[in-house]
Every structure is written in C-alpha cells, then in structure tokens.
C-alpha cells in the first residue's frame, strides 16, 4: 500500500514541529511589535464517530472532539460526512471509507456498563497507513464519563503530537457577579473545558489571584478587606485552608515554588512593595528584593533556581529575572510597553506576560533571556496568563470596555484564540497540573 506522504500523520508531525519551532525562531527584538506569525500548519482532520454504547458513547465523543478542536491542532470532521457507520472498538475500520472523506486519523470506541462501572475501549488509527496507533481501555464510575473523555483526548493528543496532553485538568478562577463598581468575587473551580463549575468561597470576602501548586491539588490565593489582605493555602482534596499569617502591611501576589515547599509573594511596607519567600515548613520568611520600586508578581522557573518578577525600578513596569535567593536581578524586557504578571512556563521554555501598549493589553511570551518575544493577543483588557501543564496553551482573562470579564485560551503560536465555554463572568484563571 502506497502512503500518500503529503497527507500522512508523519507530515503533520513534521509541520507541527516547524510551527512549535517557529514560535521561537525569528529574531525577536526587531519583530516585537508585530503580532505572532500565525504559522501555516493545517489542523489535522480527524474522524471521531460516536462510540457504541448509546448516549454516553455519543457524549464522550462530543467532549473529545471539542477538546481537540480547541487545541487548534485538530479539525474534527462533520459526522454527517461519514461513509462508514456503526463502527465500534471491536471492528477493524474500512479505511477506504475514511480516506474518501480525507480523515487522517480515526478514533473509534465502545462504552458499556459492567457491574455498575463505565468501561470504555477506544482505538486510534492512522487512516492512510492503516495502522493502529493506540488501543486502550478506561474504567470509571459512570458519572465520571467526562474525565474518561478527557483522558482519551490526552492519549490522542500525546500520540499524535508527541507532547503531553492537558485535557484532564481543572481551572481555579474567580467567578464574578455584579457590575464593575459592585463586583462580588467568589473562588470557583471547573474542568478546563468549562464543565462542572462549583464554588469554593461564598463571596462575602473578595478573593483574587489563585495559583495552583504544580505538583498537587493545592492552591494559594489572596483575600482583600478594608483591614488588609491575607494569603491563604487551600488543599482542594482535604478542604484544609490556612492563612500564611499576619504581616505588617499588605500581602499579595502569592505563587508556589515548583516543589510546593515555598510561596513567593509581595509584602508592602510604608507604600513600598518587595518580593519575599516563605518556607512553608519552617514558616521562615526571607526577603528577595529591597528596592524602592514596586516589585511584585513573582514566578519561579520550573527548576526552582530563578524567579521572574515585575518591577518599575526603571521607571515603568518591566520584567526582571533573579536567582531564587534574590541574587543578580536583571531586566529581560526591553521593547516598548509596560510588562506585568510574568509566568514561567511549566517546561521552562517561555515566560508569559501581560503587556500594555498604545491603549491595549496583550498576552505574550518571551524566552527567559528576553529574546523571541511574541505578542499573542490584543484587546481592551487582557490579563493574567496561566499555562496549561504542557506549556502549549495559555488561559487568561479578557474584559471588554463594556461587558463582563471572560476566560479565553490561546496557544503559544497565537494561531488558536478561543473563549472558554464557561457561561459566567470570570477572571484570574489558574490551570491545574494533570489530574492523577
């Protein structure tokens, strides 16, 4: 069987590698004000016919298709065009029927209930080489069918892109109600696709800027009241919530270290904000910056050795990197604009940030040395990026000049900008690591 190379998944992978690489490639300083090169890779056409097993089989497929589509790397094909119907995981697909509609990959499967448990078999096929790429079974309680769909999505994504997936994850965020001047803010959590939202606080106290630990289901966030602010740690599995303690002055902008043993944050004294770090075991706090400028929004590198933060010590807010002990702070952002909220990617590849230029706000990425800057989004107000655990997608808040704040995702090439399907007003997203 001759494989038409131009259509093979191998070709897609090669193109994908180019896109991911080209996100880094061009000399940045010259191209800084230019929006990201949107790349030319065509999303991979993938067929995901309804799994056997009735409604749950159809529902699972719907979630998988939406996940893959939102990644920007896949184009799920319209089931109305499918020639072969009634596929299930036990049957070898009729490849000519899928080649005919130009499907390059095919996922088929079967859901069933066995002894009260949901059992889902699925297979991933390379249509043109007629090879099975994956064959797996997941078992879960029936109400967890969405997680099964997310796990299958992760398997397909990983097998076809060579990168870890990010679909079996959750997002903690701030759910907002009320207008700009009377806003109520509740801590909330949902699946990364906006499903299963629930609230973690009652809205009686304003909550802001939650951040996930990168290795556990624990978050840190701040509350703001007339008598000051507090930083909390909150374990989502045990429900245990504790304050970092009382400080003289305001405390804000908390972030975990990658190993979860420390929290970096800002402390304000007599109007001046500096970056501190607390060892969570000894509860000892040490100071990382001592500058009359605003020093805030710290974020650890994934190996824990460095911290990126924003400071206006040069006269306007810019990004700086220092050692995790505060040594050798040096500026990395030099293009025109005001840079804030740097967030190191989980892979260490990039630092995402919020940038303000010419009356607009942007989400962008740059290398840790400040090179290869890419502006990914532009609007009246884009703010607060958070990385998917594979470092390929960012979620952020977007608030139009009139209207509610909403959550959006953009991939690191800037090609795929999409609203998160959560219906309410929301801000300050924090993406979890992959669920266990």
């Amino acid at each position: 069987m001759r494989i038409p190379l131009v259509r093979s998944i191998a070709a897609f992978l090669a193109a994908l590698a180019l896109v991911f690489a080209s996100a880094l490639a061009p000399p940045a300083r010259a191209a800084i004000e230019v929006n990201v090169n949107r790349g030319d890779v065509q999303p991979l056409p993938i067929a995901i016919p309804a799994f056997g097993g009735g409604q749950v089989g159809a529902d699972i497929v719907q979630v998988i298709g939406a996940n893959l589509q939102r990644s920007g790397l896949f184009r799920p094909l319209d089931p109305a065009t499918f020639v072969e119907t009634g596929l299930n995981a036990a049957v070898q697909p009729s490849f000519p029927a899928w080649k005919q509609i130009n499907a390059q990959a095919l996922v088929n499967g079967q859901a069933r209930i066995v002894d009260g448990r949901l059992v889902v078999d699925f297979r991933l096929w390379d249509v043109f080489s007629e090879q099975q790429l994956l064959g797996l079974q997941f078992t879960a309680s029936p109400e967890n069918w969405r997680r099964v769909a997310h796990k299958i999505s992760d398997q397909v994504y990983e097998r076809l892109t060579g990168e870890k997936g990010y679909f079996d994850t959750r997002v903690v965020f701030v759910a907002e109600t009320g207008g700009r001047a009377q806003r109520t803010k509740r801590l909330a959590i949902m699946d990364q696709d906006g499903a299963n939202p629930s609230y973690l606080t009652d809205g009686s106290t304003a909550v802001m800027t939650p951040r996930f630990s990168s290795n556990s289901q624990e978050i840190t966030y701040m509350t703001l009241k007339a008598d000051g602010s507090q930083i909390y740690l909150f374990n989502l599995e045990t429900g245990r919530r504790e304050s970092l303690g009382a400080f003289q002055g305001m405390v804000f902008a908390p972030r975990f270290s990658p190993d979860g043993t420390k929290v970096a944050f800002s402390v304000e004294r007599a109007g001046n904000s500096d970056v501190y770090v607390m060892d969570l075991r000894s509860r000892r706090t040490s100071r990382l910056t001592a500058d009359p400028a605003i020093d805030t929004s710290p974020s650890f590198s994934p190996d824990g050795s460095q911290v990126v933060f924003n400071s206006d010590r040069s006269g306007s807010p810019q990004l700086y990197v220092m050692g995790a002990d505060g040594s050798n702070p040096h500026r990395i952002s030099y293009a025109q604009g005001r840079y804030t909220t740097p967030v190191w990617s989980p892979t260490g590849e990039f630092i995402a940030f919020t940038k303000q230029t010419g009356g607009e706000f942007h989400i962008g990425v740059m290398r840790a040395d400040g090179s290869d800057e890419r502006v990914l989004t532009s609007s009246y107000m884009d703010e607060g990026p958070t990385w998917a655990p594979n470092g390929r997608v960012l979620m952020f808040s977007r608030e139009p000049a009139s209207g509610a704040s909403k959550l959006w995702t953009v991939d690191v090439t800037g090609r795929s900008l999409q609203p998160v399907p959560y219906p309410g007003a929301a801000s300050d997203p924090a993406w979890s690591p992959l669920l266990q």
């Binding site: 001047a181 703001l224 008598d227 109007g271 804030t340």
Partner: protein, 181 residues
C-alpha cells in the same frame, strides 16, 4: 374617646351629601354634548403656605462634616502617586480638621483605574495611600491615627470606562474609622 368617632361620622355624612348632590346633578342634566371642552384646570393654590422649614446643620467633628466641608478624596495622575498641587489644599484641610478632632482615626484607601494589572495596581494603590498618609503626618497628624489599605482596581467609584472614569478611579479616599462625633 368620642371625638375621632364623631368627626369620622361627620365626614361620612358630608361625603354622602356630596354624592347625593352629584347624582342629583347628573339626573337633572341633559346629555352632555360630545365635543364638550375639557374642564378648566384648577386654579393655582396661591394661598397654600410653604411647609415650615426644618433647621439642618452638619455637626462639627462629624463624619459628614469631614466629607462635606473638608473633602474625603484626592485624585492622581496615571501611574503616579505624588500628591498633585490641586490636591494639596484639600489635604491641608484634612490635616487641620484631624488636628482639631484628635479622637478621630482614619483609613486611607488607595485606588487605581482599570488600565493596569491587578497585582501591580495593588502595589500602586498602596503607594497612593501612603503618599496621603505621609502628607498628613508631615502636617502634624499622629501616624498611629492613620491606617492604610490598597484596593488596587477592585473598588472603582466610577463604573464607566474611558479617561474620565479612569481619572475618577485614581484616588485616595480618607475614610473615618472611629472617633467622629
């Protein structure tokens, strides 16, 4: 007590008489012409005396005295926290008032417009609150009477967007927390 009963009875009688008179008038009148002009408006009540005035004075040393006669908010330029010259007379007056009423404690609340990120604005609001605090302390108000907090961009007083709303929202508010009369 009989007086209310009697007066109510009298009123009822009067109403009954008026109703009878109306009915009688209707019965005795011919059909009204279809194009009858509207009745003339009632004459202006030239003789109604104005209600007696109620004296109202803001109590010196009260929170309202401070808000109305001194002013509780000063404004800042974009991304700035130095006290503007046009804000200095108001803060001078705040200092004088606070020295006149030494039992009063205040909280300076720093606020920012929405054209900045959340965490940076918390830091900027803290600078603004502290700039006002420093001004008052330099004019002789005891520092232990003044606390500060930053609300960043979380509590705009103007829910609009645009430069005018932004200018309103870049402020420091002096809130009385205790000791006012």
């Amino acid at each position: 007590m009989t007086a209310p009963f009697n007066s109510r009875a009298a009123l009822r009688l009067a109403l009954a008489a008026a109703a009878a008179a109306t009915l009688a008038a209707c019965a005795s009148k011919p059909k009204p012409a279809p194009a009858a002009p509207p009745p003339p408006p009632p004459p202006p009540a030239e003789t109604a005396p104005p209600p007696a005035p109620v004296g109202e004075t803001v109590l010196p040393g009260s929170e309202r005295d401070f808000v109305v006669n001194v002013g509780d908010r000063v404004y800042f330029d974009f991304d700035k926290y130095d006290i503007r010259t046009d804000a200095q007379p108001l803060l001078e007056a705040q200092a004088a008032w606070l020295k006149r009423y030494p039992a009063v404690a205040v909280r300076i609340e720093g606020n920012c417009d929405e054209r900045g990120t959340r965490e940076y604005n918390l830091a900027l609001g803290a600078r603004r609150a502290n700039a006002v605090r420093d001004f008052l302390v330099a004019r002789g108000v005891a520092g232990d009477r003044i606390s500060t907090v930053s609300y960043g961009k979380e509590k705009p007083i103007d829910a609009g967007t645009g430069e005018e709303a932004d200018a309103h929202n870049r402020n420091a508010h002096t809130a009385i927390t205790g000791g006012a009369r």
